[in-house]
Symmetry: C2
Subunit: 193 residues, 2 copies
DNA sequence: TTCATTTCTTGTCCTAGTTCAATGCATGCG
DNA sequence: CGCATGCATTGAACTAGGACAAGAAATGAA
């Protein structure tokens, strides 16, 4: 049960057995049914979740009432509204919702501090995690600005091959920043070639 | 000369005089004339720069040969291609260029490691810096997806009031992800109201 | 198995923003 | 000073993608 997350965190920093021990002892396991909202807009996000199993989406609702999906997180991914909530003490503007029955390991800000105090090496691991997060977000910005809808969809299929089977199409459209109807049209056009 | 950067870094973590001493001793001052490219696409970005004075832009060139500006950095901002280059060991896809005569404090990856070794508290400071960077990028993504060109421009003016005086309009258009012509049209329309 | 709800498709019309000129305006440089 | 290069503006024609509507297909609960 711990092997996934241990493998994940070990990618960023070399850990000895005692450190992993400390890490595992602080993890909080949580099982959540599908369609559960883990974080509502306006709340403080007080967790960072590692997905053991299942799929979640992180989204906000824009000025016109449209849902815009910022991130899908599946097995071995982390999800949180880190950037705003935890450190800036601002309420979150996003929702985090399970799309399938999920299992998580959760970190609260307090247990994270405890971890850093007991094993400072993790400060570095979480910094690198943050950096990867930034890299992914930058890549997404890059795609959003510079690619056509079709290119974005192809890139999505390549990057997340399993996801297109797991989540409803209109969620993918929302992630790509295009209308569900237009995605449908892109798909029929692609099928004809 | 050190007061700006000391003030900046102290926002994220409480530092005692010895720690600031160490920090300052590792800073490398650099003065660069305008229109200098600090980082070319394909190079490894081996610095994080704090802008003491001046203005730089970070941009990439998309598949159709268009420049897209990702970031402007002015006084008291940090600029780098952190996310990809330094830790992932991938060559950068972006350019960083001075738009005015500039003064910087530079950090190389090595001096950063030296800093972390001598004063571990900075690991945290740089993690938080990274988080803010992520927050800003996420905000930008949010705006890019959900706002009209006019809204983006207004938001830009509000957020970076001085920049619109300092940089050419077509750079702002490129930052907003719209054509220079269309920005001009937005401005004339706004002026008529 | 049936009915209801959600999801996907398809067509038509519409608009925000682009592309491509052409023209006037700065401004830096010999 | 004059000239060249880059910058901003304006207009006309075009297009990617959106909004709306209505039907088909899939999913799911009782």
């Amino acid at each position: 049960m711990y092997s996934q997350i241990n493998k994940n965190i070990s990618r960023y920093v070399a850990l000895d057995p005692e450190e992993l021990e400390i890490f595992n002892s602080l993890l909080e396991y949580k099982s959540v049914p599908k369609k559960t909202i883990l974080l509502h807009e306006g709340e403080m996000c007080n967790f960072e979740a590692f997905v053991i199993k299942g799929c979640v989406r992180k989204y906000y609702i824009d000025a016109n009432g449209f849902e815009v999906i910022l991130q899908f997180a599946i097995e071995n991914a982390w999800v949180s509204d880190i950037s705003f909530s935890i450190y800036e003490d601002k309420p979150s503007r996003v929702y985090i919702e399970t799309l399938e029955d999920c299992e998580f390991f959760m970190f609260s800000p307090d247990t994270k501090e405890e971890l850093f105090a007991k094993a400072p090496k993790f400060e570095r691991a979480f910094r690198i995690l943050m950096q990867r997060n930034l890299a992914v977000t930058q890549e997404r910005l890059f795609n959003t600005i510079s690619k056509t809808a079709t290119e974005k969809y192809l890139e999505f299929l390549e990057h997340y091959p399993t996801l297109s089977q797991r989540v409803a199409q209109h969620y993918i459209a929302s992630y790509l920043g295009i209308s569900a109807e237009f995605l449908s049209k892109i798909r029929t056009k692609m099928a004809k070639l």
